[in-house]
Amino acid sequence: MDFDGIGFSDIRMPNDLKNSYMYKYDSRYDTFPEEVFVHEFLHSLERNLKERDYDIPALHDSSKYGYVSEGSDSLKRWYHDYMAKEIPDGNGELIGLDSSVYSTKPVQESNFYGAEQEKFVKEPNNFFVGMYELINGIIKEKNNSINLNSDEVTVITHTE
């Protein structure tokens, strides 16, 4: 199966679970144990909007907007405001995830049921057209400059 565009997140258990509050609901110490799941999932939504050139706050920029970890609630309020688009931007506006992201899901095989396939390229009708395109292609390659490397985004959560 190809994972094209589908978010994939590792959730790691702490090595010393007995002495860790990770993932354990506790009204005194952690009322937001699902935070890691929420955080990793939100990175997929964040990336989704950024690739569509939406100007949204970075998921890791909670402190920039005045949010701090609030005891047992951790950054719950930040994540709520991020998803509900209720982060004050300091200029009287509220920012966060655009609501369109909630109906913008990864591409799936089922999106192509019944789709018509087209050939990516068609062989030329005759030799002379082909020779013209061959020479044209050589000229294009000499004048062309592309960067084959691009960024691959990896995100880490340091919550332990």
Partner: protein, 302 residues
């Protein structure tokens, strides 16, 4: 006599024209790459040619041969409609393809300037289909290519590509998200000569289940019910036998490390996000797979 000389010289001229024409045709047959533009990171070490002997269809296949480690591609600028789904497929065959530093380079389909590429094929394999599904997002045109190498990777070997196709899809614009969480019970790996064998406990699994339920309700609530999430939990009595590594994270589980384990489930149903829950150490048993201080990690399957 004069007629004879004229006849011989005409014949010679025709012969020369024929030979030159034949040479030009052979050149064309071998190197004509349609509208594709060829490019490579290292200027030497790669040859591109059409192959009439190794092919999957009647048409000559497109061959990239990296005689030295390189990242090479032939691509075409394709006009696309913005915010539209597309799928590119092709057949690929490989011979002795291996990556220089990692296994994430090989023969693949790639959109230049993005991290989007199909799964990579390496080793020596017979013809098989690979595909890349993507959303054009804000673009009106994309450089879509067939690559022997990969994002940040170089490889050696030969790859043939054939029967390249493109299709347009229909978006699913509801707000129902299906999210899978796979608990993978065991990791059993040897890293730098040291064996690590670690397993999830029952307490681990209970916590994962509880948090997945909470995650579902939290996301619906925080989004003001703009999304509906259905989570699917799988407890797999399976063993991960290889891990991925990079300098930033140390060891981690990448999609390719669990592909064989998850494929049977992912072929049955489609999911919009995948969590993999694992244990990578146990202080009580003095087991600690080297990681760089992460508890959650996201890769977009690119």
């Amino acid at each position: 006599m004069r007629d004879k000389v004229k006849f011989v010289s005409n014949f010679a001229i025709l012969g020369i024209i024929f030979i030159v024409g034949f040479i030009i045709y052979c050149f064309y047959a071998k190197y004509y790459f349609n509208d594709f533009i060829k490019a490579q990171v290292n200027p030497k070490g790669t040859s591109f040619y059409r192959d009439n002997k190794v092919k999957a269809t009647r048409e000559r296949s497109y061959c990239i041969e990296n005689s030295d480690y390189n990242d090479a591609i032939f691509y075409k600028t394709v006009n696309v409609e913005p915010n539209t789904l597309y799928k590119v497929t092709c057949l690929v065959k490989t011979e002795n393809v291996s990556g220089k530093d990692n296994d994430n380079s090989g023969a693949c389909i790639n959109i230049i300037g993005t991290g989007e590429q199909s799964r990579v094929i390496n080793g020596s394999t017979d013809w098989q289909e690979i595909s890349l599904k993507f959303d054009s997002k804000n673009s009106n045109s994309l450089d879509i290519g067939f690559r022997l190498g990969g994002v940040g990777g170089e490889c050696i070997g030969k790859a043939w590509f054939a029967d390249m196709k493109i299709e347009k899809g229909e978006k699913d614009e509801d707000n129902d998200w299906d999210i899978a969480c796979f608990i993978i019970d065991n990791i059993n790996v040897t890293l730098n000569g040291k064996a690590y064998n670690v397993s999830m406990t029952q307490e681990d699994k209970t916590l994962i289940k509880d948090n997945l339920d909470r995650f579902e309700k939290t996301c619906e609530s925080f989004s003001n019910d703009q999304m509906k999430i259905t989570t699917h939990l799988f407890d797999l009595n399976s063993t991960i036998t290889n891990l991925s590594y990079d300098e930033t994270n140390g060891y981690y589980v990448a999609p390719e490390n669990v592909k064989d384990i998850l494929d049977p489930y992912l072929e049955e149903e489609e999911y919009d996000h995948i969590f993999v829950a694992i244990r990578m150490g146990d202080k009580n048993k003095n087991i600690e797979i080297p990681i760089n201080d992460w508890i959650g990690l996201r890769r977009n399957g690119f």
